[in-house]
């Protein structure tokens, strides 16, 4: 494999960067060269967040070129659109279809794109889309599992990310990443991995 590039987008507070951190660590465990470039910009909670992961190249700059990403993972419907230009034709998009409406949208002063619009744009870019509806998020002990970990599991199971990462390495990292809620996170991961 020449290299595998992942573009992550979402909103600050959704755990987008955590997805990147887990992938980075799992790739590193597998002995793969990796560069993880998170960009929070000025965003505190509620702002646009992106991150770029480049795996498998000995020498790689941090930024993924347009039409260069093998995989886009998005945790917010509208923000997906900011990643479309980076998708490689033939690449994958995994979208956790949560809607985090900006204030102007909530008060009816600005439009918000439908999931269908996102699907059209992704299709125009020549990539395939997997949509995870938030209401399908499984529960663990009565509460929905962490959506970011679940989404990562879905991406590993349904895209070439599964060839790049060893699910066991992902699991091993999730075990050590948090002191609390290990079982909940592992359940989220395995439920995501089991989703076809």
């Amino acid at each position: 494999m020449k290299g595998y590039d992942i573009y992550l987008v979402g909103v600050g507070g959704q755990g987008v960067l955590t997805i990147g951190e887990i992938i980075m660590s799992a790739a590193f465990r597998k002995g793969q060269p990796v560069n993880f470039y998170p960009t929070k910009g000025m965003a505190q909670r509620g702002g646009f967040v992106k991150a770029q992961l480049r795996i498998g190249r000995e020498s790689a700059g941090a930024s993924i070129p347009e039409k260069g990403a093998d995989l886009v993972i998005s945790t917010e419907v509208s923000e997906t659109l900011k990643a479309v230009r980076y998708i490689k034709p033939g690449g994958d998009v995994v979208l956790f279809a949560y809607v985090w409406a900006p204030t102007a949208v909530m008060v009816g002063k600005a439009p918000y794109p439908a999931v269908e619009t996102v699907a059209e744009q992704v299709a125009e870019a020549g990539a395939s889309l997997t949509v995870i509806a938030p209401e399908t998020l499984p529960s663990f002990e009565g509460a929905p599992v962490p959506d970011n970990i679940y989404t990562l599991g879905v991406a590993v199971a349904n895209t070439r990310l599964g060839e790049v990462l060893d699910p066991a390495d992902v699991e091993a990292f999730v075990r050590t990443r948090w002191k609390k809620g290990i079982e909940r996170n592992l359940f989220a991961l395995s439920a995501g991995l089991a989703r076809a």
């Binding site: 993880f36 960009t39 700059g61 070129p65």
Partner: protein
């Protein structure tokens, strides 16, 4: 060797530590912040690490240590370099006895806002060497090199990163057995010819010494092979790549080879010491190649220097870069620049849309202006300013509210639209005075955060007091340097100050600056604050309001909440006033009533104050914010 994943910033911290650094100073600034943060976390024994009040003081502290023979590091973003540059130029003239490494992080692409300043120009102007590593691993090694070079040449040395490598995580091979640096005694050198500037003879002598040190550095850099030249086919293509752009060469060559480019025929000069310009290697490249592609972000420094060398050699080598295109002086470089540059230099036919994705998709995305966090006290201040302007009988577009650096600038965005300007640290208070002198008939308001006020706001306030300029300054004191990730500032609670440090109190500082009209207000009590502010606007002279509530992030990390806010669903008619006024991320629209995300809500009660149907209820918790 132990290979670890870390950011360029952290790698720089390790490099400094393994080079025997004794004093580390800096001021937070994205994307440089992580270096000093890492060192504070490591807490190395015998090393003094501090967030200084501003970059100028930071540089002076580090310079003092370097003049006393120690190894010192000073960290900042490019804006901070501007702040300390007055001192730096003077220190450059004197040189150093120990080592002084100045780490500056530039932000091509303006990921964090502020100008896309290319700090290489400052190295050129100060005649100081500047190193520019590409990968995190290189950052670690070149930081050690920077200390060695500084001590060898007796000169401050810059190390410059950009956002793409300072904030990127990558594997770094750390030395397992770094040299144990013997404890150095501080030395005192009494030499006014070197350490003062009074007199033309002294200054011109120092200027001569400065140039000699730069020349020395140039030889050292050449001897240590920091800039690598590999020659390919005679008369073929040459490539000059600077710092971060070298990281994209291999990938770009590979892609371009699909379109007829022959990588082995190309000659390549990888420039990691960008100043002084590697004249000998550049001349060798010029003699060897007919066309040279220059890859450098932002300004055309290397390209211009290369063209000068071509002229000196009497060569009419074709240079492809920015001056004659195809590249512009704006934004970050990527692999696309390498490939497009090769295509332009060699006339390769590459598809026009090779790096052009579907950009139109973004036009369907919802706008997401950045705003303050749920529970942020600045929200209350913006609401109070807007209210006070109305209460004082003015329209919003009549009252200038100057803004400053940090989270306090977020009042520029909807729903507040409160602050109008952003210039540099502490600038709001000076700008406001200019508007007053210009003859603006309505009251003028200046805003500033606590850390920014300590940094560079105090002189501006003193100026206003001396000249008795009628204006109202609102200092938004949340006790932290928040925008860069909650660093400790002089006003942060004693609980978070470093061992032996003490907290200062703005409520004591402002009155002794000669401010006679001074109020401490609570931004969570919007009505009271608006009333105080409206009254202040009508008074003559300098008025200062200190709006005080702790930043919500550290408070949340301690498990603190200001209160509990709940929705009385039956009373809510979905008028959305609470959303329109506060823009709080904790509030969303439900089908029957608005909803509050209990996990996000801090219980500040600001939304409750906006509701005129008693549909929101806030109860303060018994805890009191420190």
């Amino acid at each position: 060797m132990t290979v670890k994943l870390m950011t360029g910033n952290e790698a720089l911290a390790w490099g400094a530590l393994h080079a025997g650094v004794k004093v580390v100073t800096g001021y937070p600034g994205t994307p440089s912040t992580g270096a000093l943060t890492s060192l504070l976390k490591m807490g190395p024994e015998g090393v003094h690490v501090e967030w200084s009040v501003n970059e100028k003081v930071a540089l002076e502290v580090a310079s003092g240590a370097a003049w006393a023979g120690q190894r010192a590091l000073c960290t900042m973003k490019m804006s901070g370099l501007n702040v300390c540059y007055d001192s730096l130029i003077s220190v450059a003239y004197s040189g150093v006895l120990g080592a002084l490494v100045v780490y500056v992080a530039d932000d091509a692409g303006a990921n964090a806002g502020m100008p896309e300043q290319d700090s290489r120009g400052f190295a050129i102007m100060a005649d100081l060497p500047m190193l520019e590593p590409a990968s995190a691993d290189e950052v670690y090694r070149m930081t050690k090199t920077a200390f060695a070079l500084s001590e060898e040449a007796g000169s401050p040395v810059f190390i410059r990163l950009v956002t793409a490598n300072s904030d990127s995580f990558a594997p770094v091979a750390l030395d397992d057995d770094p040299p144990a640096w013997p404890v150095r005694e501080a030395v005192l050198t009494h030499d006014i010819d070197r350490f003062t500037k009074a007199g033309a003879a002294i200054c011109m002598g120092q200027h001569r010494d400065l140039l000699a040190r730069l020349e020395h550095a140039e030889r050292w850099i050449a001897d240590h092979g920091l800039n690598a030249l590999t020659l390919g086919a005679k008369g073929g293509l040459g490539v000059v790549a600077a710092g971060i752009t070298t990281a994209y060469l291999e990938e770009g060559f590979e892609i371009a080879s699909q379109y007829g480019f022959e990588p082995e025929a190309a000659s390549v000069l990888r420039v990691k010491a960008v100043h002084p310009f590697p004249v000998e290697q550049a001349q060798a490249l010029l003699r060897h190649c007919d066309t040279i592609l220059v890859l450098e972000e932002l300004e055309a420094h290397l390209e211009s220097a290369l063209r000068v060398q071509a002229q000196r050699l009497g060569l009419s080598t074709r240079v492809v870069g920015k001056l004659d295109g195809p590249f512009e002086r704006i934004g970050e470089y990527g692999v696309g620049h390498v490939v497009r540059g090769l295509a332009a230099a060699l006339g390769l036919a590459i598809p026009a849309d090779l790096f052009e994705g579907r950009a139109t998709a973004e036009s369907f995305a919802a706008g997401r202006p950045i705003t303050v966090c749920a529970g942020c006290p600045h929200r209350g201040t913006f609401m109070a300013i807007n209210k006070a302007v109305r209460r004082a009988g003015f329209k919003k577009n009549e009252v200038m509210v100057t803004g400053d650096i940090g989270c306090t600038i977020l009042g520029m965005n909807p729903p507040f639209n409160t602050v109008w300007t952003e210039v540099s640290m502490g600038a709001a208070t000076g700008l406001a005075q200019g508007y007053v002198h210009a003859g603006v008939p309505a009251p003028v308001i200046a805003t500033v955060g606590d850390s920014t006020f300590y940094h560079a706001g105090i002189p501006a306030l003193i100026n206003a007091v001396q000249h008795q300029v009628p204006l109202t300054l609102v200092i938004m004191d949340n006790g932290w340097t928040s925008m860069t990730g909650m660093q400790v500032d002089p006003g942060t609670s004693e609980d978070y100050q470093e061992q032996g440090d003490r907290k200062l109190d703005l409520a004591q500082i402002v009155p002794v600056l000669g401010v006679e009209q001074f109020w401490v207000v609570d931004p969570f009590r919007v009505d009271e604050m608006a009333e105080t502010l409206a009254a202040a606007l009508a008074l003559p002279g300098v008025k200062v309001l200190l709006a005080r509530q702790e930043c919500v992030m550290p408070a949340l990390r301690r498990g603190h909440r200001a209160g509990r806010t709940s929705v009385v669903a039956g009373n809510c008619n979905l008028c959305r006033l609470c959303i329109t006024v506060t823009g709080c991320p904790a509030i969303t629209l439900g089908s029957e009533a608005i909803e509050i995300d209990a996990a996000v809500c801090y219980g500040c009660g600001l939304c409750t104050a906006t509701c005129n149907r008693a549909a929101l209820r806030s109860e303060a918790t018994l805890e009191v914010a420190p």
